[in-house]
C-alpha cells in the first residue's frame, strides 16, 4: 500500500509523465493527461491506494485520458499535433522518427505499441488495460510492427 498520494506522485509521477509524453507526443498534453489522472485519482485515493498496484491504476487512467482526448480531438477535426521534441530531433533523429511513425499509426495500434515496448506489458495486460481480447492486442501490435517495419525499410 502506498503511504500517501504525495508520496506516490513523487515516486511514480515521472513515470506517468513519461508514458503520457510517449503516448501524446506533446509535453503540454502529457502534463494535461497526467494532471487529469492525478486529480481524479486523488478524489478516490483511499481506494486506489489499497489496490494491488496503484501505478497500474493510474496508468490505465492516463491511457484512457489520452484516448478520450484523442476522440474529442477527432470530433472537432483538429489536426494532429506535431511532436514536441524540445529541439532534440537532430541529436536522436532515428529515435524521434520512429516515435513519430508510432504516433502516426492508428491510435489503438500506437497505444498497444507503447504499452508493449515502453511499459513492457504482456499482451494479456494490454488487453485488460484497453479492454479488448488478448488476441486483439496481439494483432494490433503485430500490424503496427509490420507497418513500422515497412516504414523503416522505405527510408
Amino acid at each position: 500500500m502506498v503511504a500517501s498520494f504525495e508520496a506516490f506522485v513523487r515516486e511514480r509521477g515521472d513515470d506517468l509523465l513519461g508514458l503520457a509524453y510517449v503516448l501524446t507526443g506533446q509535453r503540454t498534453d502529457a502534463q494535461d493527461v497526467v494532471q487529469e489522472a492525478l486529480t481524479r485519482a486523488l478524489e478516490r485515493w483511499e481506494r486506489v491506494s489499497r489496490t494491488e498496484d496503484p501505478y497500474a491504476y493510474l496508468r490505465r487512467m492516463v491511457v484512457n485520458a489520452n484516448i478520450s482526448r484523442w476522440r474529442g480531438t477527432l470530433r472537432r477535426e483538429v489536426p494532429r499535433p506535431e511532436i514536441d521534441d524540445g529541439g532534440a530531433v537532430d541529436d536522436h533523429a532515428e529515435a524521434y522518427a520512429l516515435w513519430r511513425a508510432c504516433l502516426d499509426l492508428p491510435r489503438d495500434q500506437s497505444t498497444a505499441i507503447v504499452l508493449r515496448y515502453y511499459e513492457g506489458l504482456s499482451y494479456a495486460e494490454i488487453a485488460e488495460l484497453v479492454g479488448c481480447a488478448e488476441a486483439t492486442a496481439r494483432s494490433r501490435v503485430s500490424r503496427a510492427l509490420a507497418e513500422l517495419r515497412t516504414e523503416l525499410e522505405a527510408r
Binding site: 515521472d14 509523465l17 503540454t28 487529469e36 520512429l98 515496448y117 513500422l148
Partner: protein, 246 residues
C-alpha cells in the same frame, strides 16, 4: 525480442527523456476540495448580496431579456451596475443558453499551474469581437499550493479598480463560442509567460458541477496589455482564447 522491437523500445525510452517531470506540474492536494467549497461559498455569498443589490440599483443582467430555449448550463454569475458598462446593447449580443458563472477554474494550465481561478466578465470593449458573445477573464492566477487560499478568497471587487472592464455575467450554452481573454498572472510575474499555443482543456465550474471546454490558444492573438500589468503590479500576458463547450 527481434530487431524492430528492440529499436522501438530503445526509441521510446530515448524520447521519453524529453518528458516533463513532476516538478513542472503542481500536484493536486486535498486542500483544493476545501477551497472549492470556500469558493462556492464565496460565490454564493457574493451572488446573494450583489444580485439583489443589482435589482435595486438597476443592474443590467446581460441576456436576461432573451431567455434561452435550451436548458441553461450554468445559472449564476456576477453582475455590476449598468452605469459601469462602457457600451450598451450592440456590444452585448443575446446568447442562446445559460449563464456562465463568474468564476471558472482552469486545470491544468501549464507549468506550475493546476488550479487557476478566472473571472469571466462581459466588457464593452471586447464582447462585440467577431460578432460573437465574448467574455473576458478579469483575473487569472496560477494557484500553486501556497496560492490556493488566496485564490479561494478571491472576489471580483479588488480587481475592478484600475482595470478597463467590470465583472458581469456572460451567457453561454453548449456549442456557443466565446472569445476569452485570459489574464495570466504567473508565479513570480515573469514577462512572456502564459499559455502555449495549441489547445487547452479547461474545466469550468458551474453550479451544477464542472464542465469541460476546449480552448484554442492562437499565438497570433496574443497581446500584452500594459494596463493590466500596471494594475496588478506585475507583468502579464493576455492571451485570447476561443472557448467552446462540448
Amino acid at each position: 525480442m527481434n530487431d524492430i522491437e528492440a529499436r522501438i523500445t530503445d526509441a521510446l525510452r530515448e524520447v521519453s527523456r524529453g518528458a516533463p517531470t513532476v516538478d513542472e506540474i503542481s500536484i493536486p492536494t486535498r486542500r483544493h476540495g476545501r477551497h472549492g467549497l470556500w469558493l462556492a461559498a464565496v460565490a454564493a455569498a457574493v451572488a446573494a448580496i450583489v444580485i439583489p443589490l443589482g435589482v435595486v440599483f438597476g443592474v443590467r443582467t446581460i441576456g436576461a431579456s432573451h431567455p434561452s430555449p435550451e436548458a441553461p448550463i450554468a445559472t449564476a454569475g456576477f453582475t455590476s451596475p449598468a452605469s459601469s458598462y462602457p457600451h450598451s446593447t450592440p456590444y452585448y449580443p443575446p446568447c442562446r443558453a445559460g449563464q456562465l458563472t463568474g468564476t471558472i477554474s482552469v486545470l491544468p494550465a501549464g507549468m506550475n499551474q493546476v488550479y487557476d481561478y478566472v473571472y469571466l466578465t462581459n466588457t464593452g470593449d471586447f464582447c462585440h469581437l467577431q460578432g460573437i458573445p465574448t467574455v473576458v477573464a478579469l483575473w487569472h492566477r496560477s494557484a500553486k499550493t501556497s496560492d490556493r487560499g488566496y485564490a479561494a478568497s478571491l472576489s471580483p471587487t479588488p480587481l475592478r479598480s484600475g482595470l478597463p472592464f467590470d465583472p458581469a455575467p456572460a451567457y453561454l450554452g453548449n456549442g456557443d463560442t466565446a472569445v476569452v481573454l485570459l489574464v495570466s498572472s504567473m508565479a513570480g510575474c515573469q514577462p512572456g509567460m502564459g499559455y502555449e499555443p495549441g489547445y487547452k482543456k479547461l474545466s469550468l465550474s458551474f453550479p451544477g458541477g464542472p464542465r469541460n471546454v476546449v480552448a484554442k490558444v492562437d499565438p497570433k492573438q496574443v497581446v500584452s496589455d500594459s494596463r493590466e500589468a500596471l494594475a496588478l503590479g506585475c507583468n502579464l500576458q493576455v492571451t485570447e482564447v476561443s472557448l467552446k463547450t462540448w
